[in-house]
Amino acid sequence: MSRFFVLTLNGVTQGAIYAAMALALVMIWRATKVINFAQGAMAMFTTYLAVFAIEHGTPYWVGFLVALVSGLLLGAIVERVIVRPVESAPALNVVILTLGLLLFLEALAPMAFGGQIRSFPPAFSIVGLRLGTSQVPFSPFDLFTLGSVVAVMLLLLVLFQKTDLGLRMRASAFNPEVSRLLGIRVGRMLTLGWALASLVGALAGVLIAPSLLLYPTFMDDVLVFGFTGAVLGGLDSAVGAVVGGLLMGFALTYVGGYFGSDLETVGALVILIAVLMVRPSGLFSVQRVRQV
């Protein structure tokens, strides 16, 4: 089994998680032009809720649902209560607001659930599948992770491209004033956008928690690399987010595998800068290239 093969399989599962996080960030960016730095912390918190449910005797899938539903609600609440009032404030204010929320949630989780590292159960076995005589580093659970992220992406694609609701959401994000005139309840659409994005984030949380272990800051890196992936792909494109997230997963794993794990973030920086110098608005952007 070649090293490249091992690293590729490792990269694709990492990338799937970054893709889900990137997707969540892009949805919020498209809806409200906000980078939600609390996305990771929100996912962390919903994952804690899931583990709380599971540890109190509910089956795994109920816990899974708890995470997704609480993600949906948390997203809606955050948009309504915290983000809506600063809609017209300077753009950076919302950044600080989400940072404040991040700190608050990361402090709240250990207060409510204890500060120890916990394990989170996987839905399926984490033992690699057998390919002939050798065991490949790709487990049924990895397959589930990858499948879930792809399924969510497809569902969102259908929602936005094929349904009336999706059309209204896109219109609200694209031009709120005109949408309002057309009778679309823009506020509701934005709340729904945040809620759905937060659900995708919550999914990323329960999918990655078994392999990262669960502690208050466990989603910080996922947020950073998800954001990097989103920027790499282009913040206006859902497909770009998924591709960017996957690319980030591969890039980090190859750099880590071939050059040492302490160079992963440096690799991420080099790749990101290289791509952005050629395409300053990401791979999937349609904007013109700026000249210096």
Partner: protein
């Protein structure tokens, strides 16, 4: 002779004089203050001065030139490591040399980053600088033999000169160095902002196309803003190395970069005074909240995390009630006071108000 005279006039403009006068006043006040308070308060005020230098530079870049950097912690790390490397083998380098070397190295590196940054906008620049913030500390981890790995490089303190007496507190000496650095930085920045570069910064921020039409080289303006800002971060980083006593990757995490952004937004975007307010918040609020939590009788998991929770809440609430930061709120109070008491705008308070930039609106 006449030419020299007019050059002098230009050099010693009324604003420059006012800045100098204000700086002199600040220096006297700080000098007196630092001698009256204890070593611990001196030490905390030093931190305020250090963060004010970094935040002022960041405010110039983000508040006035519109380039959002989430990676200024990494630039501070470059300054800190420059200082620490100089002090590693040559304890005798004077402070001024160490600080200038940090300014220079960070400034030069800032040229490279500045060119890259000038091609990027909004969240893309944020993403690139965020990655910078997580990548730079890893370089130090990787190249252990140079940068000391996770344990970092220890920094010998700068001992007070003999003429101050044998038992002069080292905390006060460091405070003086930091105050001097902060005041010099503020005066230089204030002059820069009063002049053509400052106008160019704002023109580019407000409308790049219009700025270009007005004959401003947009890219060069942005690079200049980045370099000046990086130099400030480098200076702050070098001071921080002295202040902390060790330069290690754990001191330059993403959290530091995010703290700096927080400082300028809470303090007031686009104004030098805002950078000072923000730094005061950055240093003193965590001290207050940690003191508060430790005086309550709570289970350890709650008591340990309460300060962080309070700090998070403060950020959220501050953004909801004071969207233009402390400086914005003060301006409003001042304007209200003037309207109420009938003072003409630009009256007695002008010197103070002039110190920072007119109302920002990004």
């Amino acid at each position: 002779m006449v030419a020299v005279q007019s050059r002098l006039d230009r050099l010693v403009r009324p604003t420059f004089g006012r800045h100098l006068l204000f700086a002199l006043g600040a220096a006297v006040v700080l000098l007196l203050l630092s001698s009256q308070i204890g070593a611990y308060d001196d030490y905390n005020l030093t931190a305020v001065a250090i963060f004010a230098v970094a935040a002022a530079g960041l405010n110039l870049l983000t508040g006035l030139n519109g380039q959002l950097s989430l990676g200024h912690g990494a630039l501070m790390a470059i300054g800190a490591y420059t200082a620490s490397l100089l002090l590693k083998d040559h304890h005798q380098f004077p402070v001024i040399v160490v600080l200038l070397a940090a300014v220079l190295s960070t400034g030069v590196i800032g040229i490279g980053f500045g060119y890259a940054a000038a091609r990027l906008r909004g969240p893309y620049l944020a993403g690139a600088t965020l990655t910078l913030a997580v990548a730079i500390p890893q370089v130090a981890t990787r190249y252990k033999s140079i940068f000391g790995g996770e344990s970092g490089l220890t920094v010998a303190p700068s001992s007070p000169p003999d003429w101050l007496g044998a038992d002069f507190p080292p905390e006060r000496w460091l405070a003086w160095i930091a105050f001097a650095a902060a005041i010099v930085t503020m005066v230089l920045l204030a002059n820069l902002l009063r002049g053509a570069p400052g106008r160019a910064f704002k023109a580019v921020r407000d409308n790049e196309a219009a700025a270009a039409l007005a004959g401003i080289n947009v890219a060069r303006t942005q690079v200049l803003a980045f370099v000046v800002s990086a130099a400030c971060a480098g200076l702050a980083g070098a001071l921080l190395a002295y202040w902390t006593g060790v330069t290690a990757p754990a001191g330059f995490t993403l959290a530091l970069s995010l703290q700096l952004i927080t400082a300028i937004v809470i303090g007031g975007l686009g104004s030098l005074a805002g950078a000072v307010w923000g730094s005061l918040v950055l240093v003193f609020v965590p001290l207050l909240t940690s003191g508060m939590a430790s005086r309550l009788s709570l289970p350890s998991s709650v008591a340990d995390n309460l300060p962080l929770a309070i700090y998070g809440c403060i950020l959220v609430i501050a953004m909801l009630v004071a969207p233009h930061g402390i400086q914005g709120a003060l301006r409003r109070i001042l304007a209200y006071g003037r309207a109420r008491w009938g003072n003409t705008p630009g009256g007695g308070q002008k010197g103070v108000v002039d110190w920072d930039d007119p109302a920002p609106d990004t």
